[in-house]
């Protein structure tokens, strides 16, 4: 493939680093070239964090051009809208986990919280497909990233990347009990 761009967004503390690293390795296991970068810097939680992943031989910079990502993956609702506005190309796909970590403006009651309808409306304008992910009975919120990974796998949203590529990637990065729990959650959703 010439180029397939994936923009990942979330809030510091949501585990976007592991998500992005797993996706990169899964793409690598599928035999395709991948480059990317996490755009974090500091330790504190709660700021916007993003990660760029670029698949294919036609990608050079690790940073994706604005409004040209094929796929935006977000772990939080506000960041899903921001990611779509800033990076998704017209006709692209947005997948987001519907967690809400309100930004300061909402907490200071200056603006309203983003609603799922707002995301739908913006997606319609961009002719983008939207997949909202939410798991009612998820015991540990730190596993939202694995759930969204499983949805990506199930819907085959990254061309050429199959289920076994994701699990191989997870096994590279985790071990012991943590790996077990994550693989189980992944299998449950990915089917």
């Amino acid at each position: 493939m010439k180029k397939y761009d994936i923009f990942l967004a979330g809030v510091g503390g949501q585990g976007i680093g592991l998500l992005s690293e797993t996706l990169a390795r899964a793409v690598d296991y599928s035999g395709q070239r991948v480059i990317g970068a996490d755009t974090h810097g500091l330790a504190q939680r709660g700021g916007m964090v993003s990660s760029h992943l670029r698949v294919g031989t036609g990608a050079h910079s690790v940073l994706i051009t604005r409004h040209s990502a094929d796929l935006v993956v977000a772990l939080e609702r506000h960041e899903a809208l921001r990611g779509m506005l800033d990076y998704l190309k017209d006709g692209g796909t947005l997948v987001y986990y519907d967690a809400v970590w309100q930004p300061l403006d909402v907490r200071l009651r200056r603006t309203a919280q983003v609603r799922n309808e707002d995301i739908e409306a913006e997606a319609a304008r961009k002719k983008a497909k939207v997949l909202r992910v939410f798991k009612e009975d998820l015991a540990d919120s730190r596993m939202q990233n694995v759930i969204i990974m499983a949805e990506l796998s199930k819907a085959k949203l990254i061309p050429g990347v199959e289920k076994e590529h994701y699990t191989a990637a997870l096994s590279d990065l985790l071990s012991g009990r943590v790996l077990e729990v994550n693989l189980k959650a992944f299998e449950e959703v990915a089917g």
């Binding site: 503390g13 991948v34 810097g41 939680r45 051009t65 604005r66 809400v100 930004p103 200071l108």
Partner: protein, 620 residues
């Protein structure tokens, strides 16, 4: 699970997906670096994380986090003149701290070799400016390699180490944020066998090493000799890439902007020829002249300042070339990271026929930024909440660098001026002069206290300044990923002697010292009020361990965190918890009710005391 440490040590080499900061550690080991030093600063701290992944007993390289970048540079220098290949790495502005030492290095015979790895930060992602450190290289006659990808980082570090050893001079490998953090698959060669000796090779005959009087000029002459010799050598090094698209137009570029350019060129028909420089100082003059001669117009595409441009224009002038050289245009060309978007914009200004600027689609939706904030339960939040209640609107607050810098953000607004690491006491002293009406409060973190904070404190005692200094002690270098500092009792490698902040202050002659845990908000408020009424130099140590570090350690040990809090029935919507104390766990529901996001709350209960209606209660 794959082990990073094993990958870094593997004798056979192999390939792995790594970031630039990891690739450079493999290169250090292959090159035979014996001593590496640093002070933590983004974008480089992951270099140390990669070093930490190597089992201590199998790591042939000594590493330390020194107290600041200047000391780190000196330790690496000392090792080098004793015959060991050494490496020091730190962030862009770290070079300002190290500068006094750094500018001398090229005058010295570095018999072991020494590589300085800089993490520049175009775009000021995590720094107070986006300074272009190539200027320092010019000022000190130091060669600079500029890799664009993790693979190039790996290769160029080894080339830099070779060159440094051969010429016995310092060599810079200049990275930037998205080279440090870029990831790709890198192919590593086999690990050479190094016979490291323990014989100290320092010898005066290699000198002179004392740049005093006539020797200073003699040493400068020797430096320039080497530098001239180097210019010829570099013409032949295979570090430059030329892409021929048979165009009358050319672009000369280097580093990460080259990759952005390649992205932009994917979309245009009329591609200019491209010359990518691997070493940006000194420049391969003959190669550049050749490229200029072969083109009608050449654009110098460089991030930050016009360093290449000025030199290349001088080459052209000296050689009477008529090639039109397009340098920086308007001032926007000097600002920000050269991402693909930025490069398209820059090129559209000089060749509008080929390059079109990106059109931002207009959307009715506008979202405000979500800047970093202090973590749930952070002791600094309790401190700012209490201190703010003790301050008058007219008081002047001086911030310093660390997590507590975030106090300048809403809703706290504590900290109104910031220069750099450790500036606060000095700046506050100046602000207190000819000033009888506005009280001055300075802030300082504990790692920064040791890094660059001490001279300002000694000066305040020595010159009897009138100000209050609040040391925000969280027991770690939090912002850059929780590195230990001298008051912790542990260094990168080992248990070490604790150097408590209070004892240091007492030793420096500070007599007015108060200490308190920041979760005791009423007590802290009282202390600040009292200190502000007193004359002279007053210090308050406002202490609470970094809660992010603490919760991580608890989880690692498999310990349960306390239950989150919740907002009970007594709540009558005063919004102090969410609007003033502003722990990010507090959320606003439709209709204005306040609730606690349990995924965020760490159950530390520092917020309970802030509620005027006593409505915050633990979840049973």
């Amino acid at each position: 699970m794959k082990s990073m440490g094993e990958m870094l040590l593997s004798t056979g080499g192999g390939s792995e997906i790594v970031i630039g900061n990891t690739a450079i550690v493999r290169a250090m080991l292959e090159a035979g670096v014996r001593v590496a030093t640093s002070y933590p600063g983004s974008p480089t701290p992951e270099i140390a994380s990669a070093i930490a992944s190597i089992p201590r007993e199998r790591n042939p390289m000594y590493f330390e986090f020194s107290v600041n970048e200047k000391v780190a540079t000196e330790v690496a220098f000392g090792a080098s003149i004793n015959g060991h290949l050494s490496c020091v790495f730190f962030k862009s502005v770290g070079l300002n701290v190290a500068a006094d030492t750094f500018v001398q290095l090229s005058m010295m015979e570095l018999i072991g070799g020494m590589v300085i790895v800089l993490g520049d930060d175009p775009g000021a992602n995590s720094s107070q400016n986006e300074q272009d450190n190539r200027h320092y290289a010019h000022l000190s006659y130091t060669p600079v390699f500029e890799p664009a990808t993790p693979s190039e980082v790996y290769v160029m570090f080894k080339q830099a180490a070779d060159l440094s050893r051969k010429l016995r001079m310092p060599v810079i490998v200049r990275l930037s944020t998205h080279v440090c953090h870029a990831k790709e698959k890198v192919y590593f060669g086999p690990m050479p066998v190094h016979e490291h000796g323990n014989k100290p090779l320092f010898c005066m005959e290699n000198g002179p090493y004392i740049p005093i009087a006539a020797d200073a000029l003699k040493m400068k002459r020797r430096t320039l000799h080497k530098f001239w010799e180097l210019k010829d050598l570099l013409e032949e090094l295979p570090v430059n890439i030329v892409e021929d698209n048979s165009s009358e137009r050319g672009v000369i570029t280097a580093g990460a902007p080259y990759l952005s350019l390649m992205d932009v060129l994917e979309e245009v028909e009329d591609k200019p020829d491209v010359m990518k420089l691997g070493i940006v100082h000194p420049l391969p003059k003959n190669r550049i002249l050749q490229f200029l001669k072969a083109h009608k117009e050449v654009k110098i595409l460089e991030e930050l300042d016009d360093v290449l441009e000025r030199e290349i224009k001088a080459f052209a002038y000296d050689n009477g070339l008529t090639t039109r050289i397009l340098g920086k245009g308007d001032l926007e060309d000097w600002i920000g990271e050269y991402t693909p978007d930025k490069v398209r914009e820059v090129l559209s200004k000089c060749w509008p026929d080929t390059f079109k600027p990106v059109k931002e689609p207009d959307s009715p939706v506008k979202l405000n930024a979500r800047p970093a904030q202090m973590c749930p339960g952070c002791g600094h939040r309790s401190a700012f909440h209490a201190i703010k209640l003790a301050l008058k609107d007219t008081d002047i607050t001086v911030a310093d660098i660390g997590c507590h810098t975030l106090g300048y953000l809403e809703p706290y607004r504590v900290g109104q001026v910031l220069l750099c690491m450790g500036h606060s006491t000095g700046t506050a002293a100046g602000l207190s002069m000819f000033n009888d009406s506005r009280r001055v409060v300075a802030f300082l973190g504990d790692s920064t206290f040791f890094h660059a904070g001490l001279p300002g404190i000694v000066n305040a005692v020595f010159n009897k300044h009138n100000l209050t200094l609040i040391i925000m002690e969280n027991g770690t270098t939090a912002m850059t990923g929780h590195q230990d500092h001298p008051a912790v009792g542990r260094n990168f490698n080992d248990v070490s002697q604790k150097i408590p902040v209070r004892q240091v202050l007492e030793g420096l002659g500070v007599s007015n010292i108060r200490e308190i845990d920041t979760y005791n908000q009423a007590g802290l408020k009282e202390y600040v009020e009292a200190a502000l009424e007193e004359e002279g130099f007053k210090v308050i140590i406002a202490r609470h361990p970094c809660m992010l570090k603490f919760t991580r350690e608890m989880r690692k040990k498999g310990k349960k965190l306390p239950r989150p809090v919740r907002v009970g029935e007594k709540c009558n919507l005063k919004y102090v918890c969410v609007g003033q104390f502003a722990c990010p766990s507090y959320q606003i529901a439709d209709g204005g009710r306040v609730w606690v996001q349990e995924d965020l709350c760490i159950g530390d209960r520092s917020c309970v005391q802030t509620c005027p209606s006593q409505a915050i209660e633990p979840v049973e």
